[in-house]
Subunit: 342 residues, 4 copies
């Protein structure tokens, strides 16, 4: 039983087929190919606008860092949750790509920034005081690192507060599909309609091999050439770009990404029910997406460990279990059977 | 007729099949998977040693820059040919990944560093003189940017000169297979046996989708954890690493990479013969690999341009034509027919 | 009445005289001069050891950042207090000089790191887990940003804990003299004898024009050439170094620096007594050095503001008043008279 | 006899007096003081315009690198002479401060960029070609590293060519006064009137202790807050700024800087005459300022070495002799006497 991460899962067969289909004849390098051209149309449709530019990247870490590098200068700071992926799990990538920008960490339950803390940080921001590093960007994550989903209204409100102080807005959507499936919001509503300037849309965890899309909206499109140049010099401009585009196209076609995310969410809810049926097991955070964070009694902890169930201990004492599009009913049954032993 | 680049070519079918085959069930992320484990054995065999570590990367630019970042500090300089890919075509990636190291450019015909210039640069190097940036690494490229191949003896000699002054040695092998096929040298002879500390072995141009291997040899393996950390923070640690490993495995199995490179080299030689049969066409550099650089009379230049033949004008006035594993006999015939019109 | 900062004060006359005295004839540039040579002897005496190297710098920010750049790599993190000068007041200098290292912020009352928080951070440190940025250095500040002094025993203990986990130890001593005067510790006891690898010794706030000394002790002296090179490329290698050395020599001669610091400390204590004699005024932190942090009732706050007394509102609601070597008895009397009006 | 460098010379007594005079009472830190306020008026007068901002810095290397950091982005390149100080003698400072920009080296006799080479580099510049690093700035040096002076007309022409391609223009004026004295141009003519965006005006070599002025003209003043922030985080925002301002004020008052430079130039010409009177001695470059570069016959070379005359061997085989404001007639006589021995 492997609940370690949705990145341990294989890719959806449609993604493999798309790669094979893209492998026909010569094609211009660096995104000049036909598949990438088709993808633009898919994205315009999915996001209900032509006012966007996009870049493909195999890495979520790089996608976030590249996005932030055009939203925050080396002498600025990025406000984010203290448990954000960009702070905890990217080995200093934002600092590296931005040329030395700082992260300003904000607290909040369930991976969501506390509104009071955000307001206080924005109120204290003074770009004219040269001694301190001023905030230049706000980075939100949806699905959050604790598996909860910000509703669109909260994204809108936080972005609005940030923009009133002159900040740019980034959304880390490594598991955006799960948040969309959970909240019922559309991709447009959760991104540019809520004021997001740059969205990092992850498809790897949803079912691709390795494919993230950096989407730049509206007036920030003026920075797109800079984004490309930064992608180039960080090794994120693959010559055979068509194979990234093919993955993205497969995922967006017939809304496959949303179907897979909805399935993973549903599986996670069922998994949570199975766990919480045991006395002493409690949810650390609401299960809004495909991740379950539970506090486990020692006896169950020992049982799970002994059985070799793959999952991660999490800061705060809980355990994280991740469901993916491949998690089977039989996996859940196996867990139910295991827990029955306790 | 597309002779623009070997990166415009599709991947070899065996690579696609390997990706499909790797797409089975859950596997540990970040290189803990079975395919990556198998690849280690392939590499030990190919390079005739267990005294190596390796990292997989989809990007040649990143592979070079990561390699150099463990061979040269931010306060050092890297000696390379003035037309080297790391200088001309990577948008400052070595400067970025190293944290500000400098490139010291050396002249030389055909993309090969001039021995006298190298000796002079090494003789002038004084790490104790704080005002100037001392050389800390030598970076060679084989196949060179001009399509010529250094013989192993030259690599050995240059590395030996550099090491005598305390420099580290890097080999950019984006087209290493072509150089090996051309010179008859073995991978081991062209790398660690010649004193190379870190080799960037490209498979993308040879026939993969996007797969480069950074190989760290001998005492420099002590820096391997640093290389991993730098890969992580630059977004070059793909969670689903197995799909990079699968590409590499497919290319190394039964020496497919060498077969494809030898075919591309042979095609290039035939292509050169066709071109040079025309009066006024001369080779700018010897055709050691899969690239042909020609000086073209204006009439032929016009003809080629009119026919929409894809190729690149090159600094110095020549044109570059690249053959890949997919370049067909019919492509050559088409060119022969076209030239017959002149 | 100006209690804004000890950097608003003029330099001690002996410093000006030393500069004039150093202005005789040609002298080798970049530290090869006679004054710098003499300074080495002063420092050996002051720190009771020859096992040190030093570098002179006009800037405290640069001194800290240079020191940290040889103690923490671009892929590591520095543990410090959440209110440390390197975090709050240096506009990202440590991130800049280190090439992208992170600061890990620890809480604690009065500007002193909480022991439990430090132990927890050290216990959680795992340099082998590539996804997270491991701690490589601990940076302490004495006098702290809240005007309190760590006793030598605490420095020793914290450094010892940090070193057991493989960290390097830095001491930001922008107001070291005030801490020494307060605790009675010797310079040696507060630095290398407590395990400090690199000390940033500030003399500017104590009474120089602009002069800080970076002291590198023991085994870390192996990194001294790197420190020099980093100083060079950041513009902190003044050609006419003798004028920095002259300032330092003047301050160390006859222990002038300690005399001035002791005077400033004493003045601050008297100032605190004057303030605290007023009902409703309370100290936010103990007055260990030359800084007084007070909570002020609104009426007194208004009075002070109206009178144009220069001081800083501080995070947490207190006001900071700084005394320097030039703060006069008449300044204190003026404040006593002002408060009498309330 | 010390002709090693003008930085080996002491400061002019007026500079020391100005520092002593500035040492009166408390003054606001970081440039809010009275001396700095007065300096603004001096600069407006000297440069015949109010359309400027300025920053004071003790370091020429930092001044150049800070200036370039607001004229060239991390993904751009700076065109400069291949022997420029920013390339040869600053240990990678421009790369460091800019966050990884590249220097594009241009040839030319006597430290002056060859016009044909400049035109070729500009013609080849293509900011839209993402694979190569485009030129974003031109950096000229006057007096050049070979002691020659560009006439104002040449500065104007080169800047005009560069601006037509969208580049910004920087002038490294570490020895600007010597170039002004030599050409008869006014400070305004040699800077903003010639299209220079940012001038690094050095006073250290002319006679200060350590004082450079970064002058930002016209539309580039929009970047001045960024310059300040970058100065802050690189440790080039001295709290007691008044002491830098005092040096600058002393130098500008009654045109002292020009008087000292003219004297040094005149001494250099006399020195050159003495040297060239010897058979076999030839000038490597014209003596436009205070530096003499000579080819010396072996016999004279040996004589000079034996006598311990301080001077530098220079790339290309010549020797550099630098005169400063303190070089005495007796120094010249001593050299004449020495040469008489040969």
């Amino acid at each position: 039983m492997d609940f370690s991460s949705d990145t341990a899962a294989p890719a959806h067969p449609a993604v493999i087929e798309a790669i094979a289909a893209a492998n026909q004849g010569n094609q211009p390098s660096y995104g000049g190919d036909e598949v990438t051209a088709r993808l633009r149309r898919h994205l315009s449709e999915t996001f209900e606008t032509d006012d966007l530019d996009f870049w493909l990247c195999a890495s979520g870490t790089a996608s976030n860092a590249l996005a932030l590098s055009i939203l925050c200068s080396p002498i600025g700071a990025i406000a984010c949750h203290e448990e954000a992926h960009i702070e905890r799990d990217e080995r200093g990538a934002p600092e590296f790509f931005s040329g030395g920008a700082k992260l300003r960490l904000l607290p909040g339950h369930g991976g969501q920034i506390d509104e009071t803390a955000l307001r206080a940080a924005l109120a204290a921001n003074n770009p004219n005081f040269v001694h301190e590093t001023p905030l230049e960007a706000l980075s939100l994550t949806n699905l959050t690192e604790c598996g909860t989903a910000y509703p669109t209204s909260k994204i809108e409100q936080f972005v609005s507060l940030a923009k009133a102080e002159g900040l740019n807005a980034h959304l880390d959507g490594a598991r955006l599909a799960n948040a969309l499936a959970s909240t019922g919001a559309s991709p447009a509503e959760m991104s540019w309609k809520a004021g997001i300037d740059v969205l990092t849309l992850g498809l790897t965890k949803t079912g691709a091999i390795g494919c993230e899309i950096i989407l730049v909206f509206g007036s920030k499109r003026a920075e797109f050439p800079q984004l490309q140049a930064r992608a180039k010099r960080s090794g994120h401009m693959p010559p055979k770009m068509r194979f990234l585009a093919a993955q993205a196209e497969a995922m967006l076609t017939d809304n496959l990404w949303m179907t897979l995310a909805a399935k993973a969410n549903q599986t996670a809810r069922e998994f949570a029910d199975i766990l919480c049926a045991k006395p002493g097991v409690t949810l650390a955070y609401p299960v809004d997406g495909n991740e379950v964070f539970c506090m486990l009694p020692p006896k169950i902890e020992a049982l799970i460990r002994k059985a070799g169930v793959k999952c991660y201990p999490w800061p705060g004492g809980s355990y994280r279990f991740v469901c993916s599009w491949t998690t089977l009913a039989s996996d859940l049954e196996a867990m139910r059977d295991l827990l029955a032993e306790s």
